[in-house]
Assembly symmetry: C2
Homo-oligomer: 99 residues x 2
């Protein structure tokens, strides 16, 4: 399994405007092959800071996600948005423990 964690920082009012398109992108991604978990969430401490958490079956699924048409549409939308910071990292999952 591949775990993706990270964040993207935008102005809170911009995030509000993006919500309908974000929802569409999230729903389309959840229907992709190999997607186990895909979520964007607004940080409880810092408005406008989007936390990203994903689980994918394998690297191939994650690679295919990056090339999906709905991701092209989402990136085109973001091209007009000021991103004030972004870091997203994928890790292959090793030993697992429930908490």
């Amino acid at each position: 399994m591949i775990i993706v964690t990270g964040h993207m920082r935008i102005a809170p009012e911009v995030l509000d405007a993006l919500r309908p398109d974000a929802r569409k992108t999230i729903e389309a991604t959840r229907a992709e092959k190999g997607c186990i978990l895909y979520a964007w969430a607004e940080d409880l401490v810092e408005p406008g800071l989007i936390r990203i958490v994903e689980r994918w079956e394998d690297w191939a699924s994650l690679d295919a996600h990056g090339k999906a048409p709905h991701m092209d549409a989402w990136r085109a939308l973001l091209a007009d948005v000021e991103i004030m910071g972004r870091e997203v990292i994928a890790h292959e999952a090793g030993e697992e423990r429930g908490l």
Copy 2:
């Protein structure tokens, strides 16, 4: 590195009431030894659904976090809250790729 991902589902109005204590718990945790990233965030699609994302230096740091006094205080607070679902999993991080 250890990656923690998961969620906790509570009523949106309960989440709003918990925000000040959540902030305190998050800030205390970020000051812990071995904490690289610690965030709770409200799902963009489902209000009240808290997404959890954490990065820790090692299992020992994560274990120590579970025993921290501020986590006892947080759990005591949650004892009076209806949790409608919770799943939190820790994984040892293998191969890493930036996205």
